[in-house]
Subunit: 342 residues, 4 copies
């Protein structure tokens, strides 16, 4: 019998993506779906693309009977997420997709998110959900905190390089090109088709994007000293995908070697032959991350480009990957869907 | 052991889509891949989105050893297809995705395609691949001719209505909005992003589109009299999807009833509640077809809208569905992928 | 000295388009800009693309001194528009871009818009703003009612054909492909980039779109009998442009002749050589309308396709064209901008 | 009487953009149009969006009588351009849009473009066409070399900063997001809508893009020492626009002050208030360049973002601006078109 799964916050894009993935997951079955603002509606009303599935009606999360649930995905906005999770059964396995349990330090959380954390104990308990680097802890975790989608992309590039010190730590620049689904289903003028298509702009320029909190925490821990990267995201007219271009000082071949060996055995991270560059077109709708390394005409400089789908590898696919581990299922189960091209 | 599959013409979009679907098909394994113009290349070079798969290198079709092949998909351009297929082993199960075996009448073929058919005998042998209506014949077929993507969409709307005579046969209008992948990977100015994005135009206006040959053949056979529909395709700035708007005379409720009952047991064709309309956004990347029926303020008129993904249900998904039947596999195997939204 | 112009409702897309056109209009100068919800802001804040212009700050419409204004464009939502216009000076020349004064019959207005008209006298006074057909009346009008953008497109195709009876009146079908800016700057899920791009759907199916009120009024008056067309709009992933495909019965050459002679002297309506079809790509950002006529393989059927930019020829360009006439300026002044391609 | 203008290479995108701009230029008239591969065709066949214009038929450039031509735009590919220009009358004023006369050093040309320059003398004579910085020389020039579109964008950011030494010269990084029209009308798979839309990728990574030749030449001359920047372009799914994100070391306020004062009197370059960031949406179809400066949380770092339309300010608009100067016309004539938004 498949594991019984609940999703809280099922009416947003990460909720939709969880459902898309679980739809063909052989060992998971949706037993409860909550979306408090749309309680009483069917999935076909909220997400007509899922109308072929036989799914429970949306209810409030308070209405879900968690006694039969093996694992719960929580796809709520931050702040709401910690409030809800703190009221769920203390033995329930949870994968949280919000920002609420990514930062271990309550002060760092408050600095980046502007509110005092309401579940500090759980913040300590949570395991950071970057599967490739926290695999063992995730296997044993009760609460896993899914990473930010930008934070995941940047870390796939930089973790091995910082850990092995093959690059300088003082001049790391991450320039990200981000698809719009990363902003969620929010109704904002700049997310309208008429205002987003056919152009691009930077946002959160100058070190104000919240995912920097994750970079600071993880990179400083890895380096054993404070590391501060420059990170600027840009909105591009696409629905899925993050392309991260990372400018580093270091020997390009050493950079390549470090990444190639770090990911040699990883099922979802592909390091391209030296000098090739990835494209978000080639990972869309999949759980794969492609990484390419190139040298520069300026000696001692290297450029690393990574591409992943923010909704899949950047959030919901990562969440299912972590859930697989937490449930004792083979890690790649349900996640080998090929990208959707063209 | 999974069935051994070959694909000839693997470097085009329908070839790519076959590979995408077979990548997670539990009972098919790629044993041979041919693309004569790209022979010697790896799939990662031709389609980097498939680089995670362990696939054979591209060869010429002449190099493939068909003795161990259970079924061959042929995704070549028309005319080339008949030439190649006529040289393949006569016992090989084949699903052809080209236009070469859709029309049973050699004269009709010559009229629409401009050349004399070079494999008239096989033309007679071929079974028309619209699964939902030729299921039994397909199960026993050796050679199945995949339908045109526009032809499939129009027939999902019209076959039950014509067969049951719930609509007039003299004033059927099909207005199609077609995504660009239907034109294939051809290098033409009007398919460039700069010339296609952000706008729309009609093409093959006035009854010149070749898929009309299929409509004529199938609808006339169903009606027992000559039926000629008006069919105008339009190019829209999207990569996948056909939206067909069909204007008919008849009682809208009768139209709805006819379609609802025709597809009640079909796994891939969903008839929406009366008055709702489908969207190509909700079928993208999947094998589903959504159909909606609406009445008009003008009495005796009905509007039927259908949406499907031209690369999946309109060609490669249909091809896998037919191959499943031909191989004795459960029909939906490998095809239950949920649409990719957003 | 240029004419002094005010715009009420300057923060929506039609307001923005008026400003774009007037920016290079040699005989108009913006003297007042109202947008009650954004009063106090500069244009650079609301529309950064206009930041190079030296324009007055946004105020409420009540704050504008109309004594020095030669003509006022009103780009408000319907219902609000009639309320505001009824309070403006009775001698002020006004071009209204809303739906409020398009229908002359108060009952028809109430039927299509759901509320009783609050300025019935002005409704009688208003001249319908389809320049090419109401030119003389517009020249003398005080209040001109801009047409619906879909209504304009359909009428460019059908008015000459109905007036000259070269087509049947009982089976006219208009299938429109509409860009998203026609829906305005409204914050709705289906207008988000993530939900609109890469797909298409029909809306207001079955004769419920409000622009049908205009078709009914105008076509019935032209024919001297009640004419009811079938009209179905579809949303396509583009920002500007309407492509109208019209299916009619009649002789295609007669249809072509009728249109070619009707528009032979028109500066903004181009009838393409017989058999060619227009594209919205070729009119984007301009005041031009392209029309193409094709016969069908079914005798006695013709297909007429028209393309225009909904924000320009479909609303704000038409509005400037009418304002030129009302102010005694040469009709094409400021409107000869070439389309923006690619 | 307007100046008589010829365009050689009128069938590409920069040729089309020249025609779009000259269509409403009050002091220029098209007297000759050459496109050798399309000689004999009308502009309406090659560019239907220009069908309303009364333009001469396309001919070969050899057929043009240059005796009555005041100025000739040359919009040919590099290498062809130098061959053609070397055969034109030696007194003809020419604005070349190709790369052939941008680099003054024949060795640098050969290094970046791979062929020996065939008109070295003219290479010396040519004035670099970045109007804002070469205005006086352009006024007196016979041959002006239009800049690369990426090169223009980067220089608008960096020239004042390098000249005034408000930034470090050793760690300048330019990350560009480029629309597809910059690649021209070339038929390549990666420029197809199906392969470009909905995603992004880097190209010419590692210091191989030819526009680096311009950066090297110009920045080194400005600094009086060799300056080498890192420059990586990325393709985004848009037709027009370049967004350049530049990472520099230096005081952000000093950077802002330098740019604000450099462009205070410039009609086409707008420096946004400190901390605001531009968008390509807000310059599309116009000759404007928007620049925004932001500090970073890391002290001593600044981020400058610039947006312009590659076809207008990046090539054809710049070309018209230069032609205005060469013909003694007011510099902004015909170029004040407002951007096309949405």
């Amino acid at each position: 019998m498949p594991f019984q799964i609940a999703i809280i916050g099922a009416s947003g894009y990460t909720g939709a993506e969880l459902l898309r993935l679980i739809a063909t997951h052989p060992e998971m079955e949706i037993a409860g779906l909550a979306a408090n603002s749309k309680a009483g509606q069917s999935i076909a009303q909220v997400f007509p693309f899922l109308r072929h599935l036989d799914l429970p009606q949306l209810v409030t999360w308070e209405e879900i009977d968690f006694s039969g649930i093996d694992l719960c995905f929580c796809a709520l906005p931050h702040k709401t997420s910690q409030e809800v999770i703190s009221k769920l059964p203390k033995t329930l396995k949870i994968v949280d997709l919000s920002a609420d349990f990514r930062l271990r330090d309550p002060k760092a959380y408050e600095q980046w998110y502007g509110n005092r954390h309401a579940a500090v104990e759980m913040q300590q308990e949570a395991v950071y959900g970057l599967t490739e680097f926290y695999r063992d802890a995730i296997r044993d975790a009760r609460l896993v905190a899914g990473t930010g989608c930008n934070a995941a992309t940047g870390q796939f590039i930089l973790r091995p390089l910082i850990a092995e010190r093959v690059i300088g730590l003082k001049d790391i620049i991450l320039d990200l090109k981000c698809a719009v689904s990363g902003a969620g289903r929010a109704l904002k003028e700049n997310l309208l088709h008429a205002e987003l298509s056919e152009g691009s702009n930077a946002y959160a320029v100058g070190g104000t994007h919240r995912h920097l909190g994750e970079f600071d925490q993880e990179f400083s821990a890895l380096a054993g000293e404070e590391v501060r990267v420059q990170f600027t995201p840009h909105l591009i007219p696409a629905n899925r995908g993050i392309l991260a271009t990372c400018y580093v000082s270091g020997d390009a071949q050493a950079v390549f070697g470090s990444l190639a060996s770090a990911y040699a055995a990883e099922p979802f991270v592909e390091v391209l032959p030296f000098g090739e560059t990835p494209s978000t077109h080639h990972v869309r709708g999949s759980n794969f991350c492609h990484i390419g390394v190139t040298g520069d005409r300026i000696e001692g400089r290297a450029i690393v480009v990574a591409a992943l789908d923010n909704l899949t590898k950047g959030s919901s696919g990562q969440a299912v990957q972590n859930a697989n581990l937490m449930l004792g299922i083979e890690e790649t189960t349900g996640l080998m869907l090929a990208p959707c091209f063209p």
